[in-house]
């Protein structure tokens, strides 16, 4: 048989190489899905990445023309297609791949993702069974697969994969906490807060000495309006890290976002007591003042925080927010937002606000378009950016682009309507 012959002729070293590629690809994929700020790129590098990606695809296609069973090319091209959302092509390539290398659990994981993307319950269940069979205790692999199916409408597959990952927790060491934390983030983004909180609780159980696990869990609860639960988690964090300014600031942030600025202020004061020069505590104070519409005070506080921590993108972001609330503050707000982007080029909301200021305040539509496109590259669910981008395209006479953007938005709305329909 051709496939078998090819594989045999490549030998063990190639198997190792392929496994390495698989592991690397999965690790990259998981990092990419771990958070909204994980795809580190500037506007320029985003374009560069696109051209590099096209070049890579072309190279892999040429390899496959030369050798249709080149498993490295099959895997690499399949992965790129999946990343672009072309699940049909991805599925086809991975099917060819597993015909040659049926024991590669990583490829099966990609097939789960393809099946979910194509809403193919049987394909997803079949591929999932294969991962279970081939790598029953591979936490990284299952955590990735569980992440990929977090948004899936195929609830059986989602539930099974998630429970499998959770069943691995008791036998894990502290290092396993990372995977559960990431899993929690995936399910939080999928608005499945019950699973998100379970995963994050597992992360805390495995590694109680990492503050961020508490923070993430508290944010999940707060996002659901479970303010009491969020406060309880943060109280537990404070008990565990009594000298941590970060924990106090985070506790204050959660109270602020839950609409309790006075409680936030209590935490802020505690943080400032621990470290009177903490930029984080000052930033929180500025945000509290912002919420209370004390704009001149917020500006002064955040400007001071920015001086103390000139490389803190978040402080610049909130300083921009404060300035834009004032009549004459647009220019200064733009400066802060731009600096924030230089420091953290991945925050979609910064692109959004820059787009908004150029659109609404300056009526510079071409510039607004650039920022809004960047915002949506990073956060397609940012619905307000879709609206503004459509308007900006219209003002520029680019009706075809406006129509395309509208279609993208409508897909989001349909998804939301499905989610909200009575079961």
């Amino acid at each position: 048989m051709t496939c078998g012959g090819k594989l045999t002729s490549r030998g063990e070293s190639e198997r190792v190489l392929v496994k390495l590629h698989t592991a690397l690809a999965l690790a990259v994929a998981l990092l990419a899905t771990a958070g909204p700020h994980s795809q580190a790129q500037t506007p320029r590098s985003a374009r560069n990445e696109q051209s590099e990606r096209e070049a890579a695809k072309e190279r892999l296609r040429r390899l496959l023309e030369h050798d249709p069973n080149n498993i490295e090319a099959l895997f690499g091209l399949g992965r790129l297609m999946v990343e672009e959302g072309d699940f049909a092509s991805g599925s086809s390539l991975f099917r060819k791949y597993i015909a040659i290398s049926p024991a590669d659990a990583g490829a099966w994981a990609y097939l789960v993702r393809c099946a979910v993307g194509q809403n193919d319950p049987k394909g997803a269940a079949d591929a999932q069974r294969q991962i279970e069979l081939l790598a029953p205790t591979n936490l990284a692999l299952h955590a990735q697969a569980a992440c990929w199916v977090a948004n899936s409408a195929i609830s059986e597959v989602t539930g099974r994969e998630f429970e499998l990952v959770m069943s691995l927790a008791p036998n894990r060491t502290r290092s396993g906490a990372l995977w559960y934390a990431r899993l929690g983030q995936c399910y939080d983004r999928a608005h499945d807060t019950i699973r998100a909180s379970r995963a994050l609780l597992a992360a805390i159980d495995l590694d109680p000495d990492t503050e961020t696990h508490y923070f993430r869990l508290a944010h999940v609860f707060a996002g659901e309006g479970r303010v009491g639960d969020a406060s309880e988690v943060m109280a537990s964090a404070i008990a565990h890290f009594p000298r941590s300014v970060t924990t106090r600031v985070e506790a204050g942030t959660i109270e602020l976002e839950a609409g309790n600025p006075e409680r936030a202020l209590e935490e802020q004061r505690q943080a400032a007591t621990l470290d009177p020069h903490s930029p984080g505590a000052l930033s929180l104070l500025g945000r509290i003042e912002l919420a209370q519409r004390r704009y001149p005070e917020a500006i002064a506080t955040l400007e001071q925080a920015a001086k103390l921590a000139p490389a803190d993108a978040s402080i610049r972001f909130y300083a921009g927010q404060a300035w834009m609330k004032t009549d004459q503050g647009t220019q200064r707000a733009l400066e802060h937002f731009k600096r924030s982007l230089e420091l953290d080029p991945n925050r979609a909301s910064t692109y959004y606000w820059l787009g908004s200021l150029y659109f609404h305040r300056n009526q510079e539509y071409p510039v607004a378009v650039q920022y809004l496109e960047q915002a949506l590259d990073r956060a397609p669910e940012l619905e307000a950016a879709h609206q503004m981008l459509i308007q900006a395209y219209k003002r520029l006479g680019e009706d075809a682009k406006a129509a395309l953007e509208l279609r993208r938005y409508q897909e989001l709305v349909q998804h939301r309507a499905k989610a909200e329909a009575p079961k």
Binding site: G259, N260, P261, E262, R293, Q328, A384, Q391, A402
Partner: protein, 547 residues
């Protein structure tokens, strides 16, 4: 030669230049004795934060606006088991006083009611009443003899939704969407809600009302008037059903200038909806492509009340929406084919409105200077948010139109009643004493009914137009009016759905400034009839019958 003004104009200091504007003044009118009851309990139920719908309309055709106010009920039972929960109808005596005629008229209502919409759905010349309520709506037919008949069952409006069951309606508008001469009914529905499954929420360690995100959205409803006293639910066939929202208010206007009525729905924590009439019995939801789904805030606001009228007299209705504290009260300027542009900050509305939670609102020319001003009833929602530097009781807010799309907050100078705090909700607009100045009837949650009597002192002139449709619906609802004086052109339209949960004077008001003559009045009736009336004297209530 410059005409002498009898009243000194108010000098407003703005960033660009000092601007003068005729003062707007209100004083307390003699409001009927009435207190809204929301059935407050230790356990918090979301409907207790709402309610307060009010209508001003002439139920007995004596030329004077009467007042109908809806009321709450027990919670969680949703029953009016005491007179304190009765809805009320107050007849205008014409001398600044009102008489409670609720019992005689038979309109005490049932259940926990939120909003009201008055309109003559059977074209018999008498205004009927639709009441939007929690898990039950009511339609009262005006018998023409001072009494009403509950025709909810008979009309087909009592049926529960096949998918969602009993819906919670907040507001409604009468609209002849298919131009068949009969008023159809658009009902704004809020969220999926059942007292048995009310979630428990807290804030700052205290029990509080849950945020809207704790509840799932629902579609709105459109009922076609069959002309025989019955209605057919055409929500699916019309396309209205496709959009899920958390509706709070509706404004009816011809936004795209095609001569057909469109609908803007203000949603709570979801994008607003703009239903454009496709002129074939269907609507297309197009808020996002027209730039009114979101504000520049970047997220869906807690949309509350809405009114749509032409603030810059370019012939296109603009949108004024109210929202929660820290969200501003968005102002969208209609650009025609290009959609809308948000001018909340540019107009000067943003800063003053950031500190307010707005509910019912209206776009009216309160000082009759020929420019429509903005009013919003204010009061916060949650009990425990004082720490956001916002009291739950709030003062209302009034913006004077300075022209050139600029507004100034003139609340402080508008009289003592504007300085009074309250948990305001409903506001209906109309000239209660026919003196040409638009008054406001206000409700407060668990507070008294109030009348803001407009006593703006400028000696400006005015015109009130009552349209009587013959081929069109009898109220003339949807008729667009173009008015020309020596000062220029103004536009307005016939609509009763103004603000939140409330129903305003169906007569169309114009302030004429110093002009005593309207050179030309053009009416574009829903039937397609184009009518021109020339040389109309100012300072009168003019009845225009469709030819």
């Amino acid at each position: 030669m410059m005409e002498l003004r009898l009243v000194p104009a108010v000098l407003l200091s703005l960033s660009a230049a000092a601007t003068t504007v005729d003062p707007i003044r209100f004083e307390d009118g003699q409001a009927p004795q009435f207190v809204t009851h929301t059935g407050r309990t230790a356990r918090k139920y979301l409907p207790q934060t709402m309610g307060g719908g009010v209508a001003v309309f002439d139920y007995n055709n004596d030329g004077l606006l009467d007042i109908y106010v809806v009321n709450g009920a027990t919670m969680p039972g949703l029953s009016k088991d005491g007179p304190q929960y009765s809805d009320r109808l107050f007849r205008n005596n014409g001398d600044g006083t009102f008489t409670d005629v609720t019992d005689a008229a038979g309109v005490a209502g049932q259940g926990f009611n939120i909003g009201v919409a008055a309109g003559d759905y059977d074209n018999d010349g008498f205004e009927d009443i639709f009441i939007a309520g929690v898990r039950r709506n009511t339609l009262y037919h005006n018998s023409g003899d001072g009494t009403f008949t509950d025709v909810t069952e008979r009309s087909g409006l009592a049926r529960p939704d096949p998918q969602y069951g009993a819906l919670w309606a907040v507001a409604a508008t009468w609209v002849d969407y298919d131009h068949d001469g009969l008023l159809d009914l658009f009902v704004v529905n809020y969220v999926q809600w059942d007292p048995k499954t009310e979630p428990i929420c807290e804030k700052g360690g205290l029990p509080d009302y849950c945020y809207p995100r704790a509840y799932a959205g629902v579609p709105n409803s459109l009922f076609h008037n069959n002309g025989d006293g019955t209605f057919t639910d055409v929500s699916v066939a019309s396309g209205i059903r496709q959009s899920i929202g958390k509706g709070m208010a509706v404004a009816m206007a011809d936004f795209d200038g095609d001569g057909w009525p469109d609908l803007f729905v203000s949603n709570d924590t979801l994008p607003n909806s703009l239903f454009l009439n496709e002129r074939n019995g269907t609507f297309k939801e197009a808020a996002i492509e027209n730039g009114v789904g979101f504000t520049e805030n970047g997220a869906a606001i807690s949309g509350m009340g809405v009114d749509a009228r032409d603030i810059d007299n370019d012939g296109r209705p603009d949108i004024f929406e109210t929202a929660l504290l820290n969200e501003t009260m968005p102002l969208f300027r209609n650009l025609g084919q290009a959609g809308f542009e948000e001018i909340t900050f540019a107009s000067g509305v943003a800063h003053a409105s950031l500190a307010k939670t707005g509910w019912s609102n209206g776009i009216y020319d309160f000082n009759n200077d020929g420019r429509k001003d903005l009013f919003a009833a204010c009061g916060h929602v949650m009990d425990a948010e004082a720490s956001l530097r916002a009291t739950v009781p709030q003062t209302n807010i009034l913006f004077a139109n300075l022209g050139k799309l600029r507004f100034a907050d003139v609340t402080a100078a508008a009289g003592a009643p504007l300085g009074r705090r309250g948990v305001h909700r409903g506001a209906a607009f109309g000239d209660l004493d026919n003196d040409g100045r638009v008054d406001v009837v206000l409700t407060e949650l668990d507070g008294p009914l109030r009348i803001l009597h407009n006593v703006s002192p400028a000696a400006n002139h005015w015109l009130l137009i009552r349209t009587i449709g013959t081929k069109s619906n009898r109220d003339g609802m949807g008729t667009r009016i173009r008015l020309v004086t020596e000062d220029g052109v103004q536009y307005n339209a016939v609509s009763m759905s103004v603000g939140y949960a409330s129903s305003s004077d169906v007569r169309v008001h114009f302030g004429l400034g110093r002009r005593t003559l309207v050179q030309e009045l053009e009416l574009f009736w829903p039937s397609g009839t184009h009518q021109v009336v020339k040389n109309v004297k100012a300072d009168q209530v003019l009845t225009v019958r469709e030819p």
